[in-house]
Amino acid sequence: MELLDRYLQAVKKYLPLARQEDIIAELRANMEAQLEDKEAELGRPLLQGETEDWLRKMGSPMVVAARYQPQRYLIGPTLFPVYWWVLRMAMAWAAIAFVVAAGIVVPLVQHEKLSLLGTLLQIPWVLFMTAAWVTAVFVALELIAARYPEKLPPLAGRAGGWNPGALPPVERRTADGHKPRSYAQAVAEIVFGFLVVGWLLLVPQNPYLLLGPAEAVLQQMPYRLAGVWMVAYWWVIWLNVFQLGWKSVDFWRGAWQEPARAQHLLFKAFGLVPLVVMLQVRDQLYVTLKNPAEQFAQYGQTLATINNSVHLGLMVVTAIATIQLVWDAGQWAYAAYAQRAV
């Protein structure tokens, strides 16, 4: 039966070399017995079309051969949860590390072909490469685990040796009924936090990033900002870095779902520092003249008005921020008291 021989030959090509002959011999014996039964039933040999239908029902050679192979995975169900966790962490940290590196390196290296935007546009490629490497490592681990299961006891033990006491607390909705922060939200906050710091660091050398087209107008004006703004600026930078560091640590510890209220209050309290620094400035001098000796007579009155307005504005902002802080602290204390009473 030529068609059966061709079929078995095709199946054989997909079988593992060591078991080919044995499997094909058995398959041939079974199929020939079946064929004999069919022919005895019909009282004649099968026609070409009937044989084709029979073989088609049996399945394509590749599918039939595959069923003789052990079940295979690139990453099996035992390793997959670990893989998925590592992939998410690796991608999040790769994005963070890349944004930080870009924020530091690009402003330092003044190269005409190296722009911050161009560098940040490479993030998808960085994420893709990270995912590819993590996947490749886990595929290798899966292969090793399949062939030498005794070599990977820590991974095998990870599933069985977990501690129920170390489980995170039940997710609570926030006081206003909202869901706690999602993983994507936490990652986005950190990534954008680094972008903001990078952007802030670029502002002194590139004021147009903050002022836009108004920068050209300001260049023509007789006024300039006093040195206190730089002091406040560095306070803002350090506060942002501090917040980012804290959020990153929380993220690393897996405590990103709902930031602690104390942390929120602390950030708000630190946020008052640059305002207080500004309010302490001597003679309320926030704006000065580029050339005081020549320009004071003409612009001195306007300058005093500007400085008074800025000082008043800063006082209002500080007052609002302080009230907010006190209000939040009061709410926190009341909630803590109510919880203790329960």
Binding site: N30, A33, V64
Partner: protein, 120 residues
Amino acid sequence: MTVAENLFENLKLELRRGCLTLAALVALRSEHYGYTLRKDLAERGLEIEESTLYPLLRRLETQGLLVSEWREEEKRNKRFYRLSPDGEQTLAQLLAEWQRINASINGILGDGILDRSERE
């Protein structure tokens, strides 16, 4: 195939997978080669595709539940399978589990029928 039909086919496949192994083990308390085993099961109402049954026999043999030998029958060499001593032990455990599940399902079905008749 509709989504519901596809879902049914997948669930049926999952349900049958374990049952087919059990049926093959039960049938192999007496010796068979692949084709006669398939015929035997089909005659008893359990149709199995060749491409499913023959690899299953190999797998059960690798797991030590079956033993096999090549022997000539009707002028043709065939591989005959039967239950191994380990297979007999495992089969007894599996049958006990099968009876337990069967009794539970019947019990649940009985409760369901009672609930419905009570409602009516």
